[in-house]
């Protein structure tokens, strides 16, 4: 088996090199931020991503296997399949809800749940990009997790309402808490109705 480089993705925080048999996620220095902050973020995120990819799989959610971590580079399994972004429907959104409930049951906050950060392979949904993930047992961060997903649905799909409902159905059915769903609603209205005053 060769190691052919198929494509490169320059994301918000990393360069992702996709080979035919593996994926390398490399957090290169970002010149726009000062060295000190840059280093803190790159090291912290690489360590935490590798760790949480593993924890997520233990909680029953499909994630790529980590082969190696070298400095700010993660080498992992390549998931071949379609990014969820291109094939989204109500059924898939429900499955995503079920997976997120499993993550939350283990206090794993993904931090960036969007249709770009999930890949569907043989009907199974793989979660990737745990770069902004962390561990927390509180309702608020779990609510934000859902909020980020709902906002991304709104931005991409005209039938976002239906997709959101399916997600909630799956989330609750798999043991997700009603309080978290309510908190997500509250967070949305928060951003919307803040008095636009300098007093804050």
């Amino acid at each position: 088996m060769g190691k052919k480089l198929l494509s490169i993705y320059i994301g918000g925080e990393a360069v992702v090199k996709i080979y035919d048999n593996k994926v390398e996620k490399i957090r290169k220095p970002k010149k726009y931020r000062i060295r000190r902050l840059d280093k803190i973020l790159r090291i912290r995120r690489t360590k935490s991503e590798a760790k949480i990819l593993h924890l997520a799989r233990k909680s029953g959610v499909a994630t790529p296997i980590v082969y190696d971590v070298v400095g700010c580079k993660i080498v992992m399994e390549k998931i071949s399949g379609e990014p969820v972004k291109h094939v989204m429907n109500a059924e898939i959104s429900k499955k995503i809800g079920e997976s997120v409930a499993k993550l939350h049951a283990n206090d794993i906050i993904h931090g960036d749940i969007t249709p770009m950060n999930m890949i569907i392979q043989d009907g199974k949904i793989y979660f990737i990009d745990f770069g902004l993930a962390f561990i927390d047992n509180k309702i608020e961060p779990k609510g934000v997790d859902l909020h980020v997903y709902f906002e991304s649905l709104k931005a991409y799909y005209d039938d976002w309402k239906e997709l959101k409902e399916s997600f909630v159905e799956g989330y609750l059915r798999a043991g997700g808490s009603k309080d978290v769903v309510l908190r997500a609603e509250e967070i949305e209205s928060r951003g919307r109705y803040v008095e636009r005053v300098g007093l804050a």
Binding site: Y9, I10, L37, H147, V194, L199
Partner: protein
Amino acid sequence: MKALGIEGTAWSLSVAVVDENDVIAIAENPYIPKEGGIHPREASQHHSEHIAELIASVFSKVKPDEIDVVAFSQGPGMGGCLRVVATAARTIALKLNKPLVGVNHCLAHVEVGRWKTKAKNPVSLYVSGGNSQVIARRGNRYRVFGETLDIGIGNALDKLARYMGLKHPGGPKIEELAKKGRKYYELPYVVKGMDFSFSGLVTAAQKLYDEGVRKEDVAFSFQETAFAMLTEVTERALAYLDLDEVLLVGGVGANERLQEMLKTMCEDRDAKFFAPPKRLMGDNGAMIAYLGLLMYKHGYETPVEKSTIKPDFRIEEVVVNWD
């Protein structure tokens, strides 16, 4: 074709006339709080006291009958301020017998930026006192892909400045202090996908100040952290949407460090960075006039009975039928 525009959603009170090419006349009288932040009642009082003279001033440079359409910011903004603006706009439109167009303030920031920079299909970073959003167009609407989960970056800067004894508006003062900063203190860096939050950052920076850290270093650490967050989410949006232009708009866009960071990020991924001239970055009547002109040319008109203010007006609500 010429449009008159009135802006007055918060601190700024500004009346301007534009045509398709440029700003023809502008008159402004900002509300500057004597102490503390913006007081909604004082702001609307200020607006109602000064709006007539600003309109008169603009009409001394452009003849009223040259105006083809009257535009006003219908929202989002503070109720009392918006009411003053809407009332003035209705009065002029009725008196001159000209059509009225109520426009979305956030969309005006973006469109005036595209007008003056020629950016085609950018990811817009809109950063002001009350708003901080990552916006891009999808089909016939603008969509907000990311935004603050609590306060706007401008309010955060103003709040920190006030805490350190500086007068409103604090953004420019923090910028000056930060230029003399040397030491970076780590502060909470909070990014959730394309969303972000500033309130924890403000609290932590205030604590640094309480502990005796130099103002300059507090300002420096704050800017470096907050602006890196904004640059990261903008880059994430570029990657997600596969776009290659960034447009910076809103009052905080005047900040040179923020501009520099975005420019560097763009250079590193072969994207183009755009920012309109400083005077069109913050709230101003010209952007309202320009969007009014654009909308009117594309068939929009707001009948008086539908011209009620919209304090929570979202950019997504506007159907965009122009290029």
